[in-house]
């Protein structure tokens, strides 16, 4: 199996999602693949956007995929 799991970005864009309380949540939507797995879709809130958040999520997903490959 592919242990490197390179990331392949499919799309990135802003999205607005209505919330139950009537407010609108503005998010940045990332769609990507990790190796042959995916697509993965992650949303990061735009308010006080943390540019490193998506990187942490990608690493967490990659860690889990590697663990699954070892099983």
């Amino acid at each position: 199996m592919d242990d490197e799991l390179p990331i392949l970005w499919i799309s990135t864009g802003d999205d607005i999602t209505p919330q139950l309380d009537g407010t609108m949540l503005r998010e940045r939507k990332y769609v990507f693949r990790l190796g042959k797995f995916g697509p993965f879709t992650e949303r990061v809130p735009l308010a006080n956007l943390d540019a490193t958040e998506i990187g942490r999520r990608v690493e967490a997903l990659r860690f889990q995929l590697r663990a699954q490959q070892r099983l």
Partner: protein
């Protein structure tokens, strides 16, 4: 619609929802719907994902069991849906299930009656013999013997008993109580004064000689104290 990748879904669940529960599965379905590819959650405990194409995935291992035993999983159980043949059928055990179509025949109406009649037949004409004996004792020759014996033995006993009851009823217990001195209204501690002489005082016991004082003793006579 986002294509469904079971391994991506499993990685997402393990990465962002470490606590395995149906509630967290529903939360993941709401927060990250793209991973579920438009499927809906269901099953007996809500642990299964039903995809629009008909596939069914089990997402929680040992759902409904202890929390420590549950973990995220991804297992295609489409063929194990209700109505599908069991891939691991159990062997036939030693006990066969009851066939509900079997109806046990009801016992015949005359069976019990015939049994009882057969048992009674063995006694023969015992009822008639007992009835005849009773008639003989009360109306026949037995009656001639019973009445004189009753008047000779039981009659005097009845008369004696009645006489005793009559005598007891006529007796006035007040005379007996007065004769015994039990007619007072109050009860004394003693019926009569204590008139016995007290016993003589006993002499004090002799305590004996006091113990010898050894401080001035030179030891037993005839022996010298070692220096």
């Amino acid at each position: 619609m986002t294509p469904f990748d079971p391994w991506a879904l499993l990685a997402m669940l393990n990465a962002f929802y470490p606590i395995v529960s149906v509630a967290n599965l529903q939360r993941a379905r709401q927060e990250r719907p793209e991973y579920f590819a438009g499927g809906r959650l269901g099953g007996s405990k809500g642990e299964k994902l039903f995809l629009p194409d008909g596939r069914v995935w089990d997402l929680i291992y040992a759902a409904g069991g202890p929390a420590s035993a549950m973990r995220w999983t991804i297992q295609d159980v489409t063929d194990a849906a209700p109505g599908a043949p069991d891939p691991f059928p159990l062997e036939d055990g030693p006990l066969a299930p009851l066939d509900e179509t079997i109806v046990f025949p009801m016992p015949g109406g005359g069976s019990f009656v015939s049994l009882v009649a057969g048992e009674l037949e063995a006694f023969g004409d015992s009822d008639g013999m007992l009835a005849r004996a009773a008639v003989d004792a009360t109306e026949g020759a037995g009656r001639v013997n019973i009445e004189p014996a009753f008047s000779r033995l039981v009659g005097p006993a009845h008369e004696h008993h009645h006489a005793m009851r009559q005598a007891l009823d006529n007796d006035d217990p007040a005379e007996e109580l007065e004769a015994a001195g039990l007619t007072r209204d109050t009860i004394d501690a003693t019926i009569t004064e204590y008139d016995e002489e007290p016993p003589d005082d006993l002499n004090e016991p002799d305590p004996g000689d006091p113990p010898r004082d050894d401080s001035d003793d030179d030891g037993p006579p005839g022996k010298e104290r070692p220096q």
